[in-house]
């Protein structure tokens, strides 16, 4: 596979970020959320709406399933653009957009690119049935009655079996996510306060071995994140630029029944058949190579851990722990509040919650806010300058890693 040109890690920066939130007392739909976040991003970037050349969105929000949602949004904004498209990388879309925006800047086809994602599942739909109907194979999986946790639990089962990890280990992961979430004003699980391993182990099974506290929850009601990307040259004039040092993406399948039957893959996934190594490893490798950095250079991280075990698998695939050993890093306490490698500082997908497809935008918002020293919740204690923002989409399917930093390389 062709290796992306390393110079791409020195061409673009985020100069504007906007976020927007909704709840039952302040109901907003995905269009309203995206509009609010985009205008905040324009203001933050110091540009006008009409400066945007390219608009990227993710796939249509769960709470507004109209196709061509990207174009619906451009129209809603009365914002004619040269090009607009959905980056349909499932939840990994928004991170993948950052890379695509950098490519457009490098190619010289845009001065400013707007990347935006919003959703508001809890306020508009019942996602339990719909979720599995969307992400399970409609032919070979969905007729058996799985939920999304059931599909992800297959990896949890294998991860425990192959590496001797226990349910108590999964509980500890949940405890640490909650330590950050209780400080974030928008986190869905904030109201529950701090929890213990016993609390997690007493919570009921959703789909074994996953108990309620080991799963992400729906909510907060609605969120949006918007990002304005421009060239490094232009960014030097900006107020608070965040430089894009590297990006990498990888998709290996759509449905789990396809992934487990995968026998040959040009992307290294370990000996096949297996599911405990994901395409995140490849996405991260490309991002590190482009940034000319290693996992040890990362000072803060944002994962896409919708369940305890995916937090662990991602820490390994992103290079922060050897395969099967992420619990050592969890137990070290380095990722907790006050630690020297804070991870999921908004509580992550488990603690902050999943408002829908915008969950990755929330993590990216959190990363930019922490790099700027301006978080809504607890501030990372180590004043991070370099960040790994990773997102996952689908059933372990799509992976997108972005390395961001406060200093131009």
């Amino acid at each position: 596979m062709k290796t992306p040109d390393r110079s791409l890690g020195r061409v673009a920066a985020i100069i504007g970020m906007g976020d927007s939130y909704a709840d039952k007392q302040d109901v907003k739909d995905p269009l309203q959320l995206a509009t609010e976040a985009s205008w905040a991003a324009f203001k933050d970037a110091g540009i006008r709406k009409d400066d945007i050349d390219i608009l990227l969105t993710g796939r249509s929000p769960w709470a507004d399933r109209r196709p061509q949602w990207n174009n619906i949004f451009a129209s809603h904004m009365q914002m004619p653009v040269r090009m607009t498209t959905e980056i349909t990388f499932h939840g990994a879309g928004v991170n993948a957009m950052i890379g695509q925006a950098a490519l457009a800047i490098a190619a010289g086809v845009a001065d400013y690119v707007l990347c935006v994602q919003s959703d508001a599942v809890e306020l508009f739909i019942d996602a339990t049935a719909v979720g599995a109907a969307t992400d399970a194979c409609p032919q070979f999986e969905f007729p058996y009655g799985p939920t999304i946790p059931t599909i992800y639990a297959q990896l949890a089962c294998r991860y425990m079996h192959e590496f001797g990890v226990t349910e108590e280990d999964f509980a500890e992961v949940a405890v640490q996510r909650q330590e950050w979430a209780v400080h974030h004003p928008k986190a869905a699980k904030r109201r529950h306060g701090l929890i213990t391993v016993d609390d997690v182990m007493r919570s009921p099974y959703i789909s074994s071995p996953l108990r309620r506290w080991m799963c992400a929850t729906w909510g907060p009601g609605g969120t949006a994140g918007a990002f304005v990307i421009t060239s490094v040259e232009r960014a030097k004039q900006a107020r608070r630029p965040i430089y894009i040092h590297g990006f990498g993406t990888c998709t290996t399948h759509e449905y789990l029944c396809e992934r487990i039957n995968l026998r040959k893959c040009r992307i290294p996934l370990g000996p096949l058949p297996a599911i405990t190594t994901t395409g995140a490893a490849h996405a991260a490798r490309e991002a590190y190579a482009m940034a000319d950095m290693t996992p040890a250079d990362m000072q803060i991280g944002a994962l896409a851990g919708n369940f305890s075990h995916t937090v662990l698998v991602q820490l390994e695939d992103l290079g922060f722990a050897p395969k099967g050993r992420a619990m050592d890093l969890v137990r070290s306490g380095r990722m907790r509040p006050g630690g020297d490698f804070p991870v999921d500082t908004n509580g992550g997908w488990m603690g902050f919650g999943q408002p829908g497809i915008s969950v990755a935008a929330d993590s990216l918002v959190e990363t930019v806010r922490q790099l700027r020293g301006d978080p809504l919740g607890l501030k990372a204690g180590n004043s991070p300058k370099r960040a790994m923002a990773y997102s996952a989409g689908g059933m372990l399917a799509c992976h997108s890693a972005v390395i961001l930093g406060t200093e131009a390389q």
Binding site: V130, A133, P138, C157, R263
Partner: protein, 147 residues
Amino acid sequence: MWEQGEFADYTESFPNPRVTQDALPYWAAVKEGRLLFQRCPACRGAIFPPRSICPMCEAGATPTWEESKGAGSIYSYSVVHRPPSAVWRARSPYTIGLVRLDEDWFLFTEIEGRPEDMAVDKRVQLAFPEREVALPVFRLVDEGAPR
């Protein structure tokens, strides 16, 4: 705004498989109580889900159909305690897992048996229980029973 009714079929009755052209022989066999998979005539690899051209080698060969003996082992499993919709609630808890067939291919399927008896690597055998929707499922093999 998107209408919830779009997925009404999935929440009010057991869903039928959305059959693809490639898989028509598979589902025809299921109705007869048989389990089929494909094999590549060039690389000899087992192929599933069904395809019109082998995706594993560069031969571009049309796969041939084979009948599975229906014997395999549990690769992974999960007991569903919170089902996706009302129709599943009466049947829960039920177990869904990946079964590795002895012909070396995998099926995402239901595994019948007591939840506490489930374990990775346990042997399972194909079954076609009477259901609203005909599907191949698996049952734990009683290792102690006479063969």
